[in-house]
């Protein structure tokens, strides 16, 4: 199955209990399938950046094999609220 923004979004919501997900298909800007995601999940609480990204990488392990480039921003619900206010 081809990797789509919807597929990524669904996986993040179901496996990482993400409360907010934004998936941008950045493929037009790059040479092949690429995505940029913002994930807000309470599971990121208390975890350093690297651990958060690894959590996402594990969740999307199969998809990452297919796509060319991947950018991610991981926030806890608290960080997300703060960012929205800025």
């Amino acid at each position: 199955m081809a990797v789509t923004a919807d597929l990524i979004r669904e996986k993040l919501i179901s496996e990482l209990a993400a409360v907010h997900v934004e998936v941008e298909d950045t493929s037009p800007n790059r040479c092949a399938a690429s995505f940029k995601v913002l994930i807000v999940s309470p599971q990121f609480e208390g975890k350093p950046l690297l651990q958060r990204h690894r959590l996402v990488n594990t969740c999307l392990a199969n998809e990452l094999k297919e796509i060319h480039a991947f950018e991610q921003k991981t926030l806890t619900p608290e960080q997300w609220e703060k960012q929205k206010q800025q």
Partner: protein, 152 residues
């Protein structure tokens, strides 16, 4: 006498093996090299040899990818020019080997003191949050941004 010849033969063989490594598409023997236990060990040595190690697409002088370029730019901003940069486009075995080594799916990959830090996203966030200055300090590298602030 025989032992001298034996040693010479061994070093010639070793040198040949090494040159095969650096040739593009160097044959079946090479493709197992970096993913094998020995290969992973040499990666371990590579990341420990220098304080800052980057696996990227292209070179610092000529990055071949936007994300790799971002890493180069960030390091440059902090005045870090003395780092080891390995071009994974030159070596498909390195490209796969480093992903296995750090258990990370993408390039670029940044290592500080032999420890995996992350990719472009993480480095950028560390730069924006001020964490990068701190981490560089732990390595004994003084970020150029600290001096830039002083001048203002």
């Amino acid at each position: 006498m025989n032992s001298v010849f034996g040693a010479a033969a061994r070093s010639v063989r070793a040198l040949t093996a090494l040159s095969r490594l650096t040739q593009p598409g160097g044959g079946a023997a090479c493709s197992r090299l970096l993913c094998s236990a020995e290969g992973q060990k040499s990666l371990e040595e590579m990341v420990k040899k220098d304080k800052v190690v980057v696996f990227m697409k292209g070179t610092p002088a000529q990055p071949m990818c936007g994300f790799s370029n971002a890493v180069v730019q960030i390091l440059r901003m902090h005045g870090v020019d003395n780092y080891a940069a390995y071009n994974v486009l030159d070596d498909q075995d390195l490209r796969q080997g480093v992903k296995t080594f750090s258990n990370w799916p993408t390039i670029p990959q940044v290592f500080f003191n032999g420890e995996f830090v992350g990719g472009c996203d993480i480095l950028l966030q560390m730069h924006q949050s001020g964490d990068l200055v701190e981490e560089l300090e732990k390595l004994g590298i003084r970020s150029a941004l600290l001096d830039a602030e002083k001048e203002q």
